[in-house]
Amino acid sequence: MRQTTTTAAPMASGFAARRIGRPLQYVALACYVVFLGFPLLFLLLTAFKSSQELLSPNPTFLPESWNFDNFAGAIDKANLIRAATNSLIVAVLTTIIVTLISLPAAYALARFRTKLRTIATGWILLSQVFPFILIIIPLFLVLKQIGLINNLLGLVLVYTVWSLPFALWMLQGYVAGIPVELEEAGAMDGGSRLLILRRIVLPLLAPGLVATSLFTFIGSWNEFFFALVLIQDPKLQTLPLTLARFVGAEGQVQLGQLAAASLLATIPSLVFFAIIQRRLTSGLLSGAVKG
C-alpha cells in the first residue's frame, strides 16, 4: 500500500528515543514475520518431505531430499484434479454471473440517488449479522425441491447470491470514482447513453471490474460451509470439501500429501490475490475511508 508521509515519522522526541526505539521496532516486526510466515514455511517444507522422513523420531527442519512424491500422491489419491475442476466450474460461473448482474446494478446505485442505495447498504450490513444456519436450512429445502442439491449449479446459485452484495458495493465504489463530467461531456457531444457507457464508463471501470471479479472468484474457490451442506456426492466435491475429508483420514504417513494438496489448492487464489492486492488495499480503502 502507499506509504504516505502523514504519520510516517512521528518520532521527533529526540535521538535517545529513536536509538532505543528502532531496534525494538525491528524485534517486534521480526516477531510478526515469524508468527505470520513460519506456518506457511512449515506447510511448504512438509509438502516436500518423504513419508519416512515425516515418521522419523528426529525430524529435521529442512527436507533431507526435496521430492515431489507427495504432490503426485495427493493428486492421485484425493482426486484433486476432479475436485479442482468442480471448484473451477463453480468459481468461474459464479464470477461471470455476478459480474454481469452487478455491473448495471452498481452503475445505478452509484449514479442515481434513490432509496435503493439505502436499502442495498442496509442489506449488506444486515446480511453479516445473520448466522448461515438460518439461511442454509430453508435454502437446502428449496434447492432440494427444484433438484439443485448435489448439483454444481445449485452451488453457483448460492454463491452468486452471497457474493452479490459485496461485489455490488465494491463496484459501485469504482463507478462513483469515475467523474460524472466525463459522461456529461459525452452526452454533449451527442453520444447515446449506451455509447457513453461502452466508450467512456466501461474502459475506465475495467480495473475495478477485474478486482471485483477476482475477489468473487477467490470467495467461491475458498468457500466451505455451503458446499459442505449442499454437496454430498463425492464426485461433485469442491476442493475445500475434498481437503477436509482428507484430514479425517490423515495418518502420519499422509501428512506430506495433505500439505501438498493444501498448497496446490491455495495457488490459484494466491496468484489472483497477488494481482489485486495493491488495488484492494489502496483502491478499496481510499474510496471507503477517505471519501
Binding site: Q3, P131, L134, P165, L285
Partner: protein, 314 residues
C-alpha cells in the same frame, strides 16, 4: 455479503462521500430499478426469502425427511434450548471464542499496523505476509495449523522440547489447550482485514495533529494515546464490530481443526447448530438456535455501539 464463509473483504468503513449525481434525463428512478432488477431478483428469491423462512422455521417442529408435516409449535424450541446444557455451554464457548479472537486480533493488528506505518526496512515482507491468510481457504489454514500443532511432528512441540519443556502436548486434543489453541489460529486467520483497515486509518491521521502535540512536548506514548487513538476511533469501532460478528458466526476453521472436540470444548454455536440440522435433521430446533444467536449478537453489538457513542459524546 460476504459472509464469513466466502472470503471476507475489508469492509467499507464509511460510505464514500456522495459525488454530484446525474439523475438522468428521464427521472432516473425507473432506469435505476431496471438496472438493479437482475441483481435484485436472485437476492430476494435466494437470500431474503430463505432468511425470513429460516427465522419462521425456528418456531416450528420442522425435521429432515420428505413427508414430515411442519407445524408451528410456538416457543417450544426455545423452552427446549433453555433446558439444554450442551447448548448453553456451546454459547459460552462461542462468546469466549468471539471476544477472545476479536480482542487479540485487534491488539496484534494494531501493533502490526503501527509498525507498518513506520519507515522500517523489510516492512514490505511483513505486509505481504500479513495479507496471505486472506487469500487462503479457511480449510487450508486449518490443515496448516493441524500440522503446526501436531503432537509428535509439529514444530511447536519440537521447539518446546528443545527448550526443555515436556513437548508432547496434544494441543487440539486436550481439554485445557484446545480452545486457546483454536483462538490463536483464529487470530492468525483474521489478521489481514483488521491490519489493513487499521493501517489505512493510521495513514489518514493528519500529520499536523502529531506535530502540534510534539511541539507541546507530548512524548510518543502520550501522542499515541491522545492523538492517534482518538483519530482512529471510528475505524476501530467499525472493524472490531465486524470482526466480532464474523468470529461469532465462523464455521470452517474450527470445523476442520477440531470439529468441536475434544468433548465439545470447541463446539462453537455454528457447529452445534450445524450438527443439529444436518446430522440429526432437527431443522426447526437448529433454526431456533440461529434465532437465539442473532439476538445475542445484536444485544452485544447494541451495548458495544451505544457505549462507544456515549463515551464519544462525553
Amino acid at each position: 455479503m460476504s459472509t464469513s464463509t466466502l472470503t471476507r473483504p475489508v469492509p467499507p468503513v464509511a460510505p464514500p462521500k456522495r459525488r454530484r449525481r446525474n439523475t438522468g434525463p428521464n427521472g432516473g428512478g425507473r432506469d435505476a430499478w431496471l438496472l438493479v432488477l437482475p441483481a435484485l431478483i436472485p437476492v430476494v428469491l435466494f437470500s431474503v426469502y430463505p432468511l425470513m423462512q429460516g427465522i419462521l422455521l425456528g418456531f416450528t417442529d420442522s425435521k429432515a425427511g420428505l413427508n414430515a408435516v411442519v407445524s408451528f409449535n410456538g416457543l417450544e424450541n426455545y423452552a427446549r434450548l433453555a433446558g439444554n446444557e450442551l447448548f448453553w455451554n456451546s454459547f459460552r464457548i462461542g462468546l469466549v471464542w468471539a471476544f477472545g479472537v476479536t480482542a487479540l486480533q485487534f491488539l496484534a493488528s494494531l501493533g502490526l499496523a503501527l509498525l507498518l506505518n513506520l519507515d522500517l526496512k523489510f516492512r514490505g515482507v511483513a505486509r505481504t505476509l500479513a495479507l496471505v491468510p486472506w487469500a487462503m481457504p479457511p480449510v487450508v489454514i486449518a490443515i496448516m495449523w493441524r500440522l503446526m500443532l501436531n503432537p509428535s511432528y509439529g514444530p511447536i512441540n519440537e521447539a518446546m522440547r528443545t527448550v526443555g519443556f515436556p513437548g508432547d502436548i496434544n494441543w487440539l486434543g486436550s481439554f485445557s489447550t484446545a480452545l486457546p489453541a483454536v483462538i490463536v489460529v483464529g487470530v492468525w486467520a483474521g489478521m489481514p482485514q483488521t491490519t489493513i483497515t487499521l493501517l489505512a486509518g493510521l495513514q489518514n491521521v493528519p500529520a499536523e495533529l502529531h506535530e502540534a502535540a510534539a511541539i507541546d512536548g507530548a512524548g510518543v506514548l502520550h501522542r499515541f494515546w491522545h492523538v492517534t487513538l482518538p483519530a482512529l476511533r471510528p475505524i476501530i469501532v467499525a472493524i472490531t464490530t465486524l470482526d466480532l460478528i464474523w468470529n461469532f458466526n465462523s464455521f470452517a476453521l474450527v470445523f476442520v481443526l477440531t470439529a468441536g472436540g475434544p468433548g465439545g470444548q470447541t463446539m462453537l454455536p455454528m457447529l452445534f447448530a450445524y450438527n443439529e440440522a444436518f446430522r440429526y435433521g432437527e431443522f426447526g430446533y437448529a433454526a431456533a438456535m440461529g434465532n437465539v444467536m442473532v439476538i445475542v449478537i445484536s444485544v452485544f453489538l447494541f451495548l458495544y455501539l451505544r457505549g462507544q457513542a456515549r463515551s464519544r459524546l462525553s
